[in-house]
Subunit: 433 residues, 2 copies
């Protein structure tokens, strides 16, 4: 299990209070009592510690509503920062967020491409250093680095069964190498789950507790949010709709199965079909010579999308065919999770989302199994390209707020809250032994 | 949302303590402190209330290990009971469980068949009354009735988009009618989720916090357990793998989509294929005359299974074909949920599970996406026919233990625990307003 799978937001009253303050902007202690349901004693203790740690500020008093004016609290955004890094074959995206999750800097650099992993990691470390310095942020206030890589994650490295474009990263101890090269704590997450966290924290569905983020970059996956927490499954690999079977007699996929969403509808499949068609290739500016120079799959996919937007009918037909497959996979996901909200995100849907959205929505309206009970709304991300890096940075912030624990369960969270509540010993009788 | 979707085990320290006592058999207060992580004051308060309510007994002292002998606690199993009823086209199964979840009586009666819903409900009420009296249980100790019906559930009735065999139950207010006819509180759940709860409470995976129950009765579905709680989705309809698409060009399904698991591999599909083959029909004793008398789908499916066991090769080939489709659907589920454990359950897998299990296991071993991280174990239920009714009864028990709340979230559960912990006011300072 990756470190990331152990992050559990809201598992303590400290994290819950901090998150309510973040969401509210400014709020009084009485407001916190009402919003959280915690007792006055708990709020008092938790807020005092947050102020002592510099995370929360008292910023004056609200206008009187008859009684004594209330002291307002807000986050101290510049008290802590986190770096989010999205490593992909096609590009590396860096973001720096403050404690409130606001993006204070962003930067894109060349992707991993065919370079050796140690070379890429060394370059990343230098880029991170320059990025933080360029933003004028004190290194001591940067809590750590959230790192996004294409799934699936494994205990050793974060990547083992890798997509074809990054096969030479198999068995490379990615998080450990980046931590050593940067001197920062590193939390690893897959792209789709990080994107869901980014959408939850700052995207079009900000604050929505239950939704799925359907992610398309070079591949296809989903990040799942349940009750405001990322659902990761037992090994951090939940949401793999790129590899659900849509056609039992379909073509072989690199994952070892056949008829997967990705082999039928993924960006690589769209680009391959575009290359096989002279008119589409010409309109999109693709190079057809076998063995000739090629851009990344994501860049080629973006070129096909531009051609479709400029009226190339064949390109549009390819994208709509891909969208119909993706829509069926989205319905599978909605039927299994009983979803009411789906966000289309990731770099490739940032480009082509307006073509995919109506097709996915129509499929869910027509054939979602529990449509007698409720609809499934589909929305297009407004930060599709940067959502994973933002999500990775927020994981670092949350890890600071909620110390990482292995196997924390609800009754332990309840116990933790009770310990806070009982910081001052109550007069209740001790248990008779 | 059905009432059932609001049940949340372990949401209070009372429920957590009771569940630890149930799981432990006997345990001391000190043992409870260690097992739950709660403070001594909390355990003392919670246990006192459970004893006052008659749910827990003090049963003498443990042998001394040097210090003062510790008082042992255990559930008072005969203090409360619950009825579980599984209503299906093919049969109605009744179970009566005590507070510990042990089945004290079970009974099967004729299914809903083609009868009108009010007639069936009236008959059920009489059968429940006789069932409780026959078991010699005081009605006053029966907390309520857990009712299982084929999904999907809707707010009005529990059933709206119904399987073909029960289409005349559409829009019938099932839980309300049963509650009025029996005079008991009713909690409604779909068959697959109830089966997962039954397996979790008393089946081969007893106590396992994360698994899916793949359920096959007349149809196909799954119940999902996450961290010891049933995951139901936004409307109680999660886990619908009977209606994920395995073949985009496949045959139309009654649900409005095409190529679904159920239309390709469900019991009705197997029985239809068996009827179309004279040799299999003869071996299985199926009646082929159009319009002639037919048993239920589940009964016909059981007959085909018996023929396969007795060496009818065509029948076995049909079941193995169904198993291969079901295995692909199981892989879809495992890829989306990142599962490590799958239980095959429900009446039809109670009959044919030994044919399905190796096929499902082989598919997951071969092509589960995160197989580089971990395997997915497949187990066969040892109570496949009664698991849903048992699960429904346990929902009633849990509802007693944890009062039903709408939209209870973690921080509210934490707050609830804090209120228990702070039952005696602490000396902590009040918040400055």
């Amino acid at each position: 299990m990756s470190t990331a799978a152990r992050v559990m937001p809201h598992a303590t009253s400290r994290a819950a209070v901090l998150d309510v303050i973040r969401a509210a902007g400014t709020i009084s202690r009485v407001g916190l009592i009402q919003a959280t349901g915690f007792t006055g004693a708990t709020i008092s203790t938790v807020v005092r510690r947050l102020i002592d740690d510099g995370l929360v500020l008292e910023i004056g008093r609200a206008e009187s509503t008859g009684g004594k004016p209330r002291v307002l609290l807000q986050l101290n955004p510049s008290s802590r920062y986190a770096v989010g890094v999205h490593l992909d074959h096609a590009g590396i995206t860096y973001v720096l967020t403050d404690l409130a999750g606001a993006v204070v800097a962003r930067m894109s650099r060349a992707g991993a491409g065919a370079e050796d992993p140690p070379v890429v990691v060394s370059r990343m470390a230098g880029e991170v250093r320059n990025f933080i310095e360029g933003a004028g942020i004190d290194h001591g206030r940067v809590l750590g680095l959230g790192l996004v890589s294409p799934g699936p994650l494994t205990p050793a490295s974060g990547m083992r069964l890798t997509p074809p474009t990054m096969r030479h990263w198999e068995e490379f101890p990615l998080d450990q190498a980046v931590s050593e090269a940067t001197g920062m704590p590193v939390i690893l997450e897959n792209d789709a789950t990080a994107a869901a966290l980014g959408e939850h924290w700052s995207g079009v569905v900000r604050g929505t507790p239950n939704f799925a983020a359907l992610y398309m970059g070079s591949g296809i996956g989903t990040g799942l949010m349940i009750d405001g927490m990322a659902y990761r499954g037992v090994s951090g690999n939940a949401g793999e709709i790129g590899h659900v079977c849509l056609d039992v007699a379909g073509p072989d996929c690199w994952c070892g199965a056949r008829g997967c969403t990705e082999v039928l509808a993924g960006p690589a499949a769209v680009v391959a079909a575009a290359r096989a068609d002279a008119a589409i290739s010409r309109a999109a500016g693709l190079t057809n010579a076998p063995g000739g120079p090629r851009l990344s799959v994501a860049a080629d996919f973006a070129a096909v999308t531009r051609a479709a937007r400029h009226g190339e009918g064949g390109a549009r037909a390819l994208l709509e065919r891909s969208a119909r497959y993706l829509a069926v996979a989205a319905r599978t996901l909605a039927n299994i999770m009983d979803l009411e909200l789906l966000v289309l995100t990731g770099p490739s849907l940032g480009n082509a989302g307006s073509i995919y959205l109506p097709v996915v929505q129509e499929e869910l309206d027509r054939a979602f199994f529990a449509r007698g009970s409720h609809t499934v709304a589909v929305r297009l991300s407004d930060s599709a390209a940067t959502a994973p890096a933002i999500g990775a940075a927020t994981m670092v912030l949350q890890a600071e707020l909620v110390p990482l624990r292995q196997g924390l369960h609800l009754h332990q969270a309840v116990a933790a809250a009770e310990e806070v509540a009982l910081a001052a010993p109550p007069s209740a009788p001790a248990p008779s032994a």
